[in-house]
């Protein structure tokens, strides 16, 4: 067992020292994900703010009902993950904190806001809510703005007539003229929704807007790319078995006190560890650089391991059937691309005909993507047991067939 591990570990080292392999293992999937992110506008703003726990301050100088309600909305349970509001009494200090990039924004609800809102018909004189925003955190500010606007829209509904608040926002320079149309549209939507139900704002309302759609694209593409290039790693690992035969290191291994099970086990372990390391590096990198939320870490880890098992099975079967390292590379590349397409790394399988989705099930990509998507949408381990099981069965079955073929052909023996 120890020798198998040493053989495998040696292969992990070699894989991570092979520049060409690294390019395809890590650089390609990462850059493709990044490229797709750029194309879909995922990074249109600054990317150094995550859309969770947005820090901001509410200065509520209003004694009326409206101010209290607004604070309630921001502090509601539904917003707890997304927002991290705190209240303060000094707007100057709060603005300073924004300037120092400690906060995403300050919301100042001016004294007498409720009163004037409900009484005044003269929009010019009505005191406006001030949103002092941090330009370095456009996404966070966007989220707060959206919540604020939808709240105001609801308030407007009560008062009937939404043009006042828009004008207020405009007149204070908090809302750019070109944004008015969009804001108005959203307000209209919010109004109709608010009309339908009296419930307070939910996270869902907010995340249905703008940025969140792109976020979904990336959360879909990143695992797709990782799974596709995982197939490269496993077929390349299988290739190394035949390459070692040619290089003479495999025959040499078989003259040392190591048996064939240890050698084969070590090679497979090496491929497995390399693939797992590749996936985990890609996941951590996309979490750090793209603020991608992959979901429950334990479930993600188990799914990764299962996906690697499935992919290793394919890498081994190709190796068992091929005669030269070159054949493994060629078939491996074809399989990587084919499985990428078939398995949904490029196209959403939900839009494909039924027969296509059935065939897609032979790929680890399809099962893996299924699982990763479930997790990204908030699912837990219990929801991905089917893909995990399918991947494990796929890997073990393919591996068993491979070992049978390899043994029949004589492993290193003549």
């Amino acid at each position: 067992m120890k020798k198998a591990f040493l053989i495998g570990w040696k292969d992990v080292k070699l894989a991570f020292r092979d520049r060409a392999a690294l390019l395809l293992m890590l650089a390609a999937p990462f850059l493709l994900t990044l490229g797709l992110g750029l194309v879909t506008g995922r990074f249109s703003g600054s990317s150094n703010t995550g859309i969770s726990d947005i820090p901001f301050v509410i200065v509520n100088q209003d004694e009326g009902q409206l101010g209290t309600e607004l604070v309630k909305v921001f502090e509601s349970e539904d917003m707890a993950d997304l927002l991290e509001p705190s209240s303060a009494s000094d707007p100057v200090a709060a603005r300073q904190a924004v300037d120092e990039d400690k906060l995403a924004a300050v919301i100042v609800i001016p004294a007498g806001f409720s009163e004037s809102f409900f009484s005044s018909q003269d929009s010019i004189e009505a005191p406006a809510i001030e949103l002092y925003s941090n330009p370095a955190r456009p996404t966070s500010v966007g989220v707060i703005t959206t919540i604020l606007e939808s709240f105001l829209a609801r308030a407007e509904m009560i008062r009937a007539g939404s043009e006042v608040t828009l004008t207020q926002l405009l007149s204070t320079g908090r809302l750019q003229p070109q944004e008015v149309a969009a804001a108005a549209e959203r307000m209209a939507e919010q109004q109709s929704e608010a009309g339908a139900s009296n419930s307070s704002l939910t996270l869902k309302n907010v995340t249905e807007s703008g940025a969140e759609v792109d976020f979904d694209v990336l959360a879909y593409m990143a695992p797709g790319m990782a799974l596709m290039f995982l197939m490269f790693t496993t077929t390349n690992g299988g290739r190394s078995l035949l390459a070692e035969q040619r290089l003479g290191t495999l025959p040499r291994l078989l003259t040392t006190p190591v048996n064939t099970t240890q050698v084969l086990g070590g090679k497979v372990l090496g491929i497995f560890l390399t693939g797992a390391a590749q996936m985990l590096i890609l996941i951590v990198a996309s979490t750090l650089f793209f603020q991608l939320n992959w979901g429950d870490p334990l479930a993600v880890l188990l799914l990764v391991l299962a996906a690697v098992v499935g992919a290793v099975g394919w890498g081994m079967i190709i190796t068992a059937l091929a005669r030269t390292p070159g054949q493994v590379s060629a078939v491996g590349s074809a399989l990587m691309l084919g499985f990428g397409i078939l398995g949904g790394s490029f196209i959403n399988l939900d839009n494909m005909p039924n027969w296509f989705r059935v065939i897609a099930k032979i790929t680890p990509n399809a099962w893996g993507l299924d699982g990763f998507n479930t997790l990204a949408l908030g699912g837990g381990l219990a929801n991905i047991l089917t893909p995990i099981l399918a991947l494990l069965i796929m890997g073990v079955a393919l591996f068993a067939i491979s070992v049978f073929i390899i043994n029949r052909r004589g492993f290193g023996q003549r």
């Binding site: 040493l6 040696k10 020292r17 290191t249 040392t256 006190p257």
Partner: protein, 315 residues
């Protein structure tokens, strides 16, 4: 003489229909250097591959240290060390990492492993460059690492399969010297080569192999006595002249059995070396070729091979 550490009886190895080794028998005594001398394709590597448990034999038997090579391969593997003909190293690992990996395959670990790695690095003269990746090494340095791997676990019997093929004279010299040194320290060596000079310099006993058959076996003296009276005349030709022209002419001289060119020396095989010195000098003068030195050598292994097969070793 000590007991044999290796005994081979009627060893046969077929690749499909082709018989590469045709029932050879020999033994190697503890403490000796035994050379398998034979041209390319003679079956040297095949023999080593079978004896090192890599290939299964088609027939015959072999024991190493009293253990059957075929029935107890794992025990045998621990006794033997192997220096394969082709480099078998991981290019993207350093020399130290290679030694460490292979040492662990030979069940070394911890302090013993660390000590052995340092000793071997010293032995192969690569202590300074130990932490460079093998792919940055010259051919000679790689050969030395390849040898080092075979020495790590202090094998009782070391198989060296043409360890000097394709390297510069200096590295070759170093390798031959280290083989002698290892043997002096008590290691038994099975050395294969197609260079007559190497077998001659190193071996206590020699087996001459050709077309999968062992056509001669014994001490160098025993083998040479088979040749009869053939002698070798070695001519050192001036660097500026072409020795091939002279060699070609020499082949037509009566009594000259063979005239081979290696660099700027001509090796002539003849029953009467003294007798052909004057015709040789005459020929050289006619061709305007300058001879720097003339040396008459005793019958050698090249002559033995020629005598037994009618062919030259390195053709």
């Amino acid at each position: 003489m000590m007991a044999p550490i290796l005994e081979v009886q009627n060893l046969v190895k077929k690749y499909g229909d082709f018989t590469a080794v045709k029932g050879i028998s020999f033994d190697i005594k503890e403490g000796e250097i035994f050379s398998l001398l034979g041209p390319n394709g003679a079956g040297k590597t095949t023999t080593i591959s079978v004896l090192s448990t890599l290939y299964t034999a088609t027939g015959g038997s072999a024991t190493i240290g009293g253990h059957s090579v075929f029935a107890e391969p794992m025990t045998v593997r621990q006794i033997i060390g192997i220096v394969p003909q082709e480099l078998a190293l991981y290019d993207d690992l350093t020399a130290r990492e290679n030694l460490s990996f292979w040492g662990q395959m030979y069940n070394l670990s911890g302090k013993t492993l660390a000590t052995r790695i340092n000793e071997v690095l010293e032995q192969i003269g690569l202590t300074d460059k130990a932490n460079q990746r093998v792919k940055t090494y010259s051919g000679g340095m790689k050969r030395r690492v390849n040898i080092g791997v075979g020495l790590l676990h202090r094998p009782r019997l070391l198989f060296m399969d043409e360890p000097t093929v394709g390297i510069d004279p200096q590295s070759r010299r170093a390798i031959l010297d280290s083989v002698k040194e290892l043997n002096r320290q008590g290691m038994t060596v099975l050395y294969t080569t197609h260079y007559m000079e190497e077998a001659q310099e190193l071996s206590d006993r020699v087996g001459i192999i050709d077309h999968g058959e062992l056509i001669a076996l014994g001490t160098q003296a025993e083998l040479k006595s088979q040749v009869g009276q053939n002698e070798t005349l070695v001519l050192a030709v001036a660097e500026t002249d072409d020795p091939q022209i002279l060699a070609d002419k020499l082949k037509t001289v009566p009594g000259v059995l063979k005239a081979d060119v290696i660099d700027h020396t001509i090796t002539t095989i003849t029953p009467d070396a003294q007798g052909i010195i004057s015709p040789t000098i005459l020929l050289a003068n006619q061709l305007g070729i300058k001879i720097n030195a003339i040396d008459i050598q005793e019958p050698n292994l090249e002559a033995v091979f020629l005598h037994l097969t009618g062919r030259a070793l390195r053709d």
